[in-house]
Amino acid sequence: MRFGIAVYPGSNCDYDTLRVIRDVIDEHADFIDYRETNVSKYDCIILPGGFSFGDYLRPGTLSAHTPLTNAVKEYARKGGVVIGICNGFQILTEAHMLPGALMPNIHGKFVCKHQYLRVENDKTIFSSKCEKGQVLKIPIAHHDGNYFCDEDTLKRMEDNGQIILRYCDKDGNVTDEANPNGSLHNIAGIMNEKGNVFGLMPHPERAAESILGTDDGMYIIQSVLENLE
């Protein structure tokens, strides 16, 4: 498998992602510069976390209009698999590759902690190694993770099973108390209608080795691997 990891000015989870792909799952990974226009050789492209372009204007906005993102958009249109983590998720919404928007956290604070997540749909290429209802523990670290979309979009996503992860407590209860950022219906991760583009605020690449406190991120990484092969 060939993974491409996008690097925008201000990306800062690029090396974490590279390490997991190369050292943990032993697959090929390259960095891709944000000025690159050809991404066709990759089996999967990951937009990593960080503060690309300093979050200027809105998080993800300026990255969404780079040559690389334009190429990734075309790659996804042809069916290529794309994952956006944290800032990568923000880039995917700003590029209109995923519906909705990520607003500042409701309490106005940066939130950085381990978070429980409930798997809402296990019939996707990003969650096939999970069970529906399974609770994962994966870190979050963001200031703008408050997901919002209009009611029609929400209903369409619910009907299509596009909501993959929701914030929950350790027993899997999706409650306001378990919502770390004010996100609509506790949404933590969604995919597009076609099912080949996934955006999530939690960081699976920071939860890929048990020495870090949890390796639940591997459920997502292994799901992708299983479906690319």
């Binding site: 906005t61 909705g100 500042p104």
Partner: protein
């Protein structure tokens, strides 16, 4: 020629910054403050052209990058 963009959180969308500022104003004794919206102000300088054309271009800039209409509203003003 100058295009001024006034961007603010869309009606009905929560504005944590606005809420925090309103609370702070209350604490300072401005008890008549009912609501606060915190937005952005952007100045874009362009070559002189027909005003109608400039307005059209301004809306294109807003929709393509400057504003996210899912969560923000905007107004423009052209200064010749």
């Amino acid at each position: 020629m100058l295009i001024k963009f006034f961007i603010k959180p869309r009606k009905g969308v929560l504005d944590p910054q606005g809420r925090a500022v309103a609370e702070s104003l209350h604490n300072l004794g401005f008890s008549d403050v009912k609501d606060v919206k915190v937005g952005k102000y952007i100045e874009v300088y362009i070559e002189d052209k027909d005003k109608e054309e400039a307005i059209k271009e301004a809306h294109e800039m807003a929709k393509k990058v400057l504003v996210n209409e899912i969560i923000e509203d905007y107004e423009i003003e052209i200064v010749e």
